[in-house]
């Protein structure tokens, strides 16, 4: 289990018919288009330095646990998950648009004690380029992080986009606007 945006796409959601007419065998891919995979592995990590490698360990063994979700007035979910002593609330809201549909995602991390050197890995790609606060990933994704100062760094033969998280009291928060 990995608590991350694994796949995003636009248009139709999924064809569940096969799972509602027979025993439900088989796997379904997204029904829509412009399917973009998210970065693999854990979405958050504590790095000793900005050059430390992003860890690969994830799932239950690495301390990740799904905690459930709540629905707002429009029945949009805020997902809750935890990573050891950190609890995350992840509220991705779909933003409609003819030219640039996307997600407005608000992520809040709670902790009893502030955690230093905590990073969120927003993207991994061949090439990541910033223009006026907009981070273009492989000319597919466009990401914005209002109020945050993301870091582009090289990692092996790829580029990574990391968002440093700073606690105010028991909470660290960031907003990610995703269009593609």
């Amino acid at each position: 289990m990995t608590w991350r945006l694994a796949l995003i796409w636009q248009g139709a959601f999924i064809d569940a018919a096969r799972h509602r007419t027979g025993r439900g065998q088989g796997f379904e891919k997204p029904l829509g288009s412009n399917v973009v995979p998210g970065p693999p592995g854990p979405a958050f990590a504590v790095l000793d330095s900005e050059s430390s490698a992003w860890p690969k360990e994830t799932g239950r063994a690495a301390g990740w646990q799904f905690r459930g979700y709540s629905l707002d007035g429009q029945r949009r979910p805020t997902f809750r998950y935890s990573w050891n002593d950190l609890t995350v609330e992840d509220y991705p809201v779909a933003v409609p648009g003819e030219t640039d549909p996307g997600f407005h995602r608000t992520v809040t991390v709670h902790a009893e004690k502030p955690v230093e050197h905590l990073f969120f890995r927003a993207a991994v790609g061949k090439r990541i380029k910033e223009t006026d606060g907009v981070f273009a990933v492989d000319e597919t994704l466009k990401l914005k992080f209002p109020g945050a100062k993301p870091i582009i760094r090289g990692s092996e033969d790829k580029a990574e986009l990391l968002v440093p998280l700073t606690f105010t009291g028991h909470e660290a928060k960031f907003v990610e606007d995703i269009t593609w």
Binding site: G22, R23, G24, Q25, G26, Q65, G68, S70, L71, D72
Partner: protein
Amino acid sequence: MKFIVSISFATLLLGASAFADDTATPALKEAEAQYYRIVTLPIPEGVALEAGALQWMGQGRLAASTRQGDIYFVDHTLEDPPAHLKFTHFASGLHEVLGVTAKDGWIYATQRGEETRMKDLDGDGRADVFETVGDPWGINGDYHEYAFGSKFDKNGDLWIVLCLTGSFNSNSPFRGWCFRLTPDGKWIPTCSGIRSPGGIGTNADGVMFYTDNQGPWNGADGLKELRPGYFMGHPAGLKWFDDPATKDLIAAAGLKKPQEPESGSRIYKEAKRIPDYMPPAIMFPYPEMGQSASGFVADTTGGKFGPFQKQLFVCDQSHSTVMRVFLEKVNDRYQGACFPFRQGFDSGNLSAEWADDGSLFVYGTDRGWGARGGHPSLCSGSCGQVTCPSKSTKCAPGPTALS
């Protein structure tokens, strides 16, 4: 629930009502109906009420979970005829809920991947907060990896039995195991050796049992006691005793890997040879009594449902029946006998639940498995209510009950 191993067999089912031929004569059905009448509750258009589980909420209200992942509240269920049923769509988007119960204002649901509890905070009749109570087992997307949840038992524990990945394999952690959730939130690996459960519940004394379906290591559908630490007979799930991801949790529960049973041997021989082997208390003659033993309840109605106090009423999914089971404990093991009880339901019965007036609600699905009376279509769930003909008259067993 019946496991069928190949795709070709599944295809065969589409036209194969022979899988669950109804052999009862009209006279037999008439005789049963004299004593136990079935009232079928009409399901409104647009509600896919495929069986999952039922929870009686009191005051005419039933909570019904579905295989498509919904939970409905159904009100005015005890009216006869049921002319004013009201369905409230409490939750959706869950994953094949095969266990539902209520505690402290929460609705608890056993989904494939986790135990979840939910609540309506804003009072609009729909759940808006969903908490993961726990998910110590794995799923990989295989259709067979069902999870059946019990009600809370007399100790406040909730028990979950986990189907194997198919008939032979345990490809995700703890497939083929039973877990207990304790009141303080701990998950305890409780039994190994499970194949393909169809239901879970207690006998009248509060002892936990489950039904396991015919297939490898299960010559016929069986009813087995889930005694903590015991091995229920199918060896595929024993690998988790040794897996680095699961062995510590198992060791902490004090469980030790049993000897594997010998293929081609006999249950009583293996039960003698392997101290932790739990033989079935009941083996339902296959296919005479049924082909997919599923959920069950003990008659704790104190006589409201007739003369079968403390006996079990066990559903069969493929024959769309309710069977009756008598249990006794001899030399520290349960044994007993099963009897036909009631047939003629509209779809494959998956679970049953008492109302507090002693009515028995039965609820079913035929999707994916042939079932008598069923309609091989999408929304084929049905809901029935069995009541005694007269509350003032003690019910006598129908002629079929002892045949």
